[in-house]
Point group: C2
Chain length 351, copies 2
């Protein structure tokens, strides 16, 4: 992995991948570029796997991959890949990464256990056989070894230690593949890591693909991650805001003013938004369409005294992903000027 190299895009859903393909076809300066696309999640519906296999042959696509942790799903995928090829062995193959559980405890095979090892090797054997079959329609392209929880371990030393555990499991998976003659020739991905932990995945020497994403916008939760005193951490800063408006000052003398942003404007799973560059005020959730600004120090009504109805307040959301998911559009601003309007075209539950 070399500095500055970005070879593709990751997604959690087929429904997120399709808008990107359209964007690169229609709108992007990079129109015509071939896309290397990986769904870093399990896709199990036959109809979605069919769509994925069809997209593998899309003229804008170099490669499509998907995570698998189940032998039955692999069979459906192979069937659909064959059907999508129209019988041609020259058709684009669909890539598969086997997902292992490196401690995230969500999807993936638990190779820390004997039973999990056996399940993993059995799945890898079926997959490498299809990979080596000249008339097959899937490729064994790598391992998914992602640990999302690590991204938000606050102390850098703790994050580093947990990633070492993650990397050891990824290394074990590679060893199992090698020992069972299941490691394909050539490039083989070990994919994982994220915005909060990627320096440690890179340092492990095991990972050759990382999956950062939040760096593009950030949120309050990421800004709570701490840097170790003796090392330089990622230089990212928050750049995602909710531009709210004061709609009531009727109770400024009682301890709050009311904003027009509520549960339909931000996610609360990582706590409430904070007021941008303001240590005097906190947010208090007040409904689907309302938030109250309250003084951080009880009784500090002076912090509210200057607010007028119509004033703008910049909020920083607790968690950027489910917050951006609420919006159809984002407005890009640079030096107080609107420079672009971005469609949130992959918004939605995507189930």
């Amino acid at each position: 992995m070399e500095e500055g190299e970005a070879s593709g895009f990751c997604f959690q859903k087929v429904s997120e991948m399709e808008p990107l393909i359209r964007f690169f076809e229609e709108d992007s300066a990079d129109s015509g570029k071939l896309l290397d696309l990986l769904v870093t999640n399990e896709v199990v519906e036959r109809s979605k796997l069919r769509r994925l296999c069809e997209l593998a042959s899309h003229p804008s696509v170099k490669r499509v991959g998907v995570a698998v942790d189940d032998a039955g799903v692999l069979q459906v995928l192979m069937d659909e890949a064959r059907a999508a090829s129209g019988g041609s062995s020259a058709a684009s193959r669909v890539g598969v990464v086997i997902e292992i559980d490196v401690g995230q405890q969500r999807c993936g095979i638990d190779i820390a256990s004997q039973q999990g090892e056996e399940t993993f090797v059995a799945l890898a054997r079926r997959l490498i056989a299809a990979h080596r079959d000249p008339s097959g329609h899937v490729s064994f392209i790598g391992l998914q070894a992602y640990h999302g929880g690590n991204q938000h371990v606050r102390a850098a030393a703790d994050r580093e230690r947990t990633v070492q555990h993650v990397a050891a499991l990824a290394r074990k998976a590679l060893d199992l593949l090698r020992a069972n003659d299941c490691l394909p020739e050539g490039e083989f991905l070990v994919s994982g890591g994220g915005t909060g932990s990627f320096p440690y995945e890179i340092a492990s020497g095991v990972y050759n693909e990382i999956q950062p994403g939040s760096y593009a916008l950030m949120d309050r939760d990421y800004c709570l991650n701490k840097n170790a005193e003796d090392r330089t951490e990622s230089p990212f800063k928050n750049s995602m805001f909710i531009l709210s408006t004061v709609i009531s000052t009727a109770s400024a003398g009682r301890g709050w003013v009311t904003l027009d942003a509520g549960l339909k404007a931000y996610a609360v799973d990582s706590g409430l938004p904070v007021v941008w560059q303001n240590d005097e005020l906190d947010c208090e959730q007040a409904g689907d369409e309302h938030t109250k600004l309250i003084p951080r120090t009880p009784g500090n009504l002076a912090a509210l005294a200057h607010f007028k109805v119509g004033d703008r307040v910049w909020l920083v959301p607790g968690h950027c992903d489910p917050t951006s998911n609420l919006y159809d559009w984002m407005v890009a601003v640079q030096e107080d000027k609107v420079t672009d309007v971005w469609a949130v075209s992959a918004r939605g539950p995507g189930m």
Copy 2:
């Protein structure tokens, strides 16, 4: 207020009102019906107030109203109403309800205090003067006296008691208007209440308009409201579901299976979804696109043993409003058959 009488629709945003008008114009069996529309919230942007005033003259609209708790906003509204009338005193007037704070502590004037009383009467005087002006462009149509928190007070007796407090404040506001010659002739709304509390607002005799809404779909939170032993409560039951799919059973032996529904599929402000008609399983939040089903009784792996990848699981969300806000469409089902597909056309932060 007579049984079965519904004279209009409430909204929190102008952006929610517009899709309903379009729906009644284009799609509804009630096309051509005149709509009585009230924004039960403060609208303070001049551009939004302008739009509201324009909609007052829309051919499908009988009346448009909005909540106000600020004299400056009332002035902007009057200016925009005059501008929208094109100078004609015969043009449609815009209705105004003054919002009082009946304990919700969000927007609205605190008439429990002496200072709030004075603010309230001063605002009412300005409004009634405009109302009585034959060439004016706003009408004083009522009071907004809404308490959202009451909807979720669990015990019926406690809900009844809090509504009595709310009704006493609404009665005080009416008395203040009467004593200051600010009560207009004819119909005058006292509007509030909701799905959880409306029997008590009706019983108070003060309210003549109620604002229920969640009854159409319901959620887990409403189903936690308790009925008093000696009275019949609302007969509503949950009818809103998230149809999720099992995407991983790799760890069923370790205590969970994984669903494709996460923070992009349900709101968590009122807790996690529950599994429909299943007392053995709970949901555990696992990310933006993932939820884990876990046994309610630790170690009860038998509750997970029957799950296969691809199985459907019906979830009941904690809070229906911010959950439905995540979707572009809902699928209506009756007796296991799809009967309709509903566009969530007013979705969005609406700020």
